[in-house]
């Protein structure tokens, strides 16, 4: 696995000059993923969403690798087609290189509208790595709730109101849904831990077959925090057990880090505007519920990892 110096020497394939917000974690995901691919040729695609919109404003592009965007819910299906073309043309001898395929999608384009296409692509076993940059809401259309939005979060379609204090439901556990497909490699990583993420990308690419990585991506606009805290918020999500770093390789679960001392979830919540209303005493019960849910999910994950 490449160290920081080696990664830095590789040169960016996702280049500067894009139009993301200062401190955006999504662009970090794209940049580090392509750095991790190194010299291995990759063809990429992206669902409609922040990452695509900020990086491909015609006639400019931030992608220094072949890239296709077609629509919102279908980056897994689009790359399925690219990969099928590769298989066919490779077999016929017109394409010589060994190429890998990488798809990116936001949580909306992955957990919700794109779930069918993703599930189909994973089941068919295409040689692709799908990376979900999970910023926990539809950011590109102005911060609406998705099924990845955590309970209690205020979004523009689950606002904090007089009767309803932000999103009512807990978030969907997509990583487990994808793991249930029985594909060779599934993992969770986070913006703010470059070595964990790049290692996982390298591993997924080396493995072959379908692979999936969900990366928790702090969004400074949607979450509401100063841009310099992006990496910090990612790490804190891991230290509170909100976002465990783990992988499922050929069905075998493995925790990649165990916080020495689990921090209370309120530490993470209170740094973000979207949870501001939870500071009010009458909403303490919601924080307690969130904490309980995190503890339960952690316990369940722990059981799977020690199998």
């Amino acid at each position: 696995m490449a160290n920081l110096k080696e990664l830095a020497a590789r040169g960016d394939k996702f280049t500067g000059g894009h139009r993301a917000c200062a401190g955006c974690g999504a662009t970090v995901v794209a940049r580090q993923a392509l750095l991790a691919a190194g010299d291995k040729p990759v063809v990429t695609t992206c669902a409609t969403g922040c990452l695509e919109v900020v990086s491909t404003i015609f006639p400019y592009t931030a992608w220094d690798v072949p890239f296709i965007h077609s629509a919102f819910e279908n980056s897994a299906a689009t790359i399925s087609g690219v990969e099928a073309a590769y298989k066919s043309l490779k077999r016929q001898g017109t394409v010589k290189e060994d190429i890998r395929f990488m798809a990116f999608g936001g949580d909306g384009g992955t957990y919700d509208i794109g779930l069918q296409a993703l599930s189909g692509a994973m089941e068919r076993g295409h040689n692709m790595l799908y990376i979900c940059y999970d910023n926990q809401a539809y950011m590109n259309t102005g911060i609406q709730r998705s099924s990845a939005t955590p309970k209690g979060s205020a979004t523009t379609t689950s606002p904090n109101g007089k009767k309803i204090p932000g999103k009512v439901q807990f978030r969907k556990n997509l990583t487990e849904i994808i793991a249930a497909h029985g594909i060779p490699y599934v993992a969770q990583s986070v913006v703010g831990n470059w070595s964990d993420f790049t290692k996982k990308v390298e591993k997924a690419l080396a493995k072959g077959g379908p692979a999936f990585i969900a990366v928790l991506q702090p969004c400074r606009l949607g979450w509401g925090y100063p841009p310099e805290l992006t990496a910090e918020l990612g790490r804190l999500a891991v230290e509170t057990n909100f976002w465990p770093l783990y992988e499922v390789e050929d069905g075998k679960y493995k925790l990649n880090s165990t916080p020495k001392e689990r921090k209370p979830i309120s530490e993470w919540l209170f740094l973000q505007e979207r949870f501001r209303h939870l500071k009010r005493p009458e909403n303490q019960a919601i924080i307690d519920e969130i904490q309980k849910d995190i503890d339960l999910r952690w316990e369940n994950l722990g059981k799977k990892c020690s199998l």
Binding site: P41, V43, T45, E52, V53, T56, I57, F58, P59, Y60, T61, W63, D64, V65, P66, F67, I68, H69, S70, A71, E73, N74, A77, T78, I79, S80, G81, V82, E83, A84, A85, Y86, K87, S88, L89, R91, Q92, V95, E97, I99, Q116, A117, S119, G120, A121, E123, R124
Partner: protein, 391 residues
């Protein structure tokens, strides 16, 4: 060149054309009455008779998405669908055309729900008429087969580079057995030639971005370029049709005139109904009735000038629509034909007739009756009527 005579249904004919084209990738999802096309093709794949990578996707939306990815990656790409399947593809249909990808699709015309119905009308295809695809209608299985082969050439032509759908009428053509003249694999291959895309995603030394976001500063120009491509297609389709005729004895144009030049009354139609109309016209001609047919083979690009010229000397014309444009004045074929005629100094009296929705039968007596009504002045010009419906 040697033609091989076979008995084939429309679906079998289309699947055979696909096999002989031998595309690099097919991504498809089953739907009645098009299912057989991909079933038959899957067998070709399973038997190793084609080099194709077949992707059995989980939906039509993904079928067209995968076709888009595959075609952008430089692979000759095909699919087939119908009705609700085409409707589910709708979003991606626009994207395939907008990205200028020469995908060829076999579309078996079927009514759209609701109510759910599996039989033929043109509502599905017509719903995509503004998407930028080239639309070729087939009168019978022979035309479906021939047009599929020509479609590949048209789509990939450097002045066109647009996707093409070749349609047959559900069940009427798709499931009806006919005698067709087929070509050898070698003839098909030499006619379509090698595909040489200008740029493609697998050319990793020359990375480029497909599908970038275009804002107010570029979108309009890129859409305008599609209009030019459609206009270019008018010429290219005729050239390809003529070359096909030279090589294989059957000429194809944008429209076909049947007993039209000296006709007093005429109908305009698409697809299988044209075959029925021809039989009726033969009968009427024997009785001294000057009846004629204008068959529109290519609906997109719309051959407005040719149509206007073909109709200018006729007294009265009925335009048959096998789909309705609900809430508008007449079906899509009527409104476009009428609009094409508007600027002509000499123009016929013209009426719209919607018929055959959801597979409702159109028989020879009805078409004969239509001609007689036209002749007797019983069909009012500039009116829209519904043929064969219980009011």
């Amino acid at each position: 060149m040697q033609k091989i005579i076979l008995a084939k249904t429309g679906n079998e004919a289309m699947a055979l054309a696909m096999k002989q084209i031998n595309p690099d990738v097919v991504a498809a999802y089953p739907i009645t009455p098009a299912t057989e096309i991909v079933q038959i093709f899957s067998q070709y794949v399973a038997d190793g008779e084609v080099k194709t990578e077949f992707v059995a996707v989980e939906s039509e939306h993904s079928a067209m998405s995968a076709c888009i990815g595959s075609c952008a990656a430089g692979a000759r790409t095909m699919t087939g669908t119908s009705s609700q399947g085409l409707a589910l593809m709708y979003e991606m249909i626009y994207i395939a055309a907008g990205l200028r990808l020469p995908i060829v699709m076999a579309d078996v015309n079927r009514a759209l729900a609701a109510p759910i119905n599996i039989h033929c009308d043109h509502s599905d295809t017509m719903g995509c008429r503004d998407a930028g695809w080239i639309h070729i209608f087939s009168e019978n299985a022979q035309e479906a087969y021939d047009s599929m082969i020509q479609a590949m050439r048209i789509a990939e032509h450097k002045d066109v580079r647009l996707p093409v759908m070749v349609t047959t009428d559900g069940f009427i053509i798709s499931h009806g057995m006919e005698r067709i003249d087929t070509l050898s694999d070698a003839d098909v291959q030499s006619f379509i030639g090698k595909y040489d895309p200008m740029m493609h995603l697998l050319d990793i030394k020359k990375p480029f971005t497909v599908g970038a976001i275009n804002l107010t500063d570029y979108y309009f120009e890129h859409r305008r370029a599609m209009v030019d491509a459609q206009n270019n297609a008018l010429k290219v389709i005729k050239e390809v049709g003529a070359e096909f005729g030279k090589k294989f004895d059957t000429n194809y144009g944008l429209i076909e005139k049947y007993q039209l030049d000296d006709a007093e009354v005429a109908i305009v139609a698409l697809g299988s109904t044209c075959g029925t109309a021809k039989v009726v016209i033969d009968k009427l001609r024997k009785q001294g009735v000057k009846a004629g047919l204008l068959k529109i083979r290519v609906f997109r690009p719309f051959p407005a000038e040719e149509i206007a010229r073909a109709l200018e000397n006729i007294k009265t014309v009925a335009v048959l629509d096998r789909s309705d444009s609900i809430g508008s004045f007449g079906g899509p074929v009527f409104t476009e034909v009428r609009s094409a005629l508007y600027g002509s100094a000499k123009k016929p009296q013209i009426a719209g007739v919607v018929y055959g929705l959801g597979g409702r039968e159109i028989d020879m007596e009805q078409i004969e009756g239509l001609f007689m009504d036209l002749k007797a002045g019983k069909i009012k010009a500039d009116s829209v009527s519904y043929l064969g419906v219980r009011d």
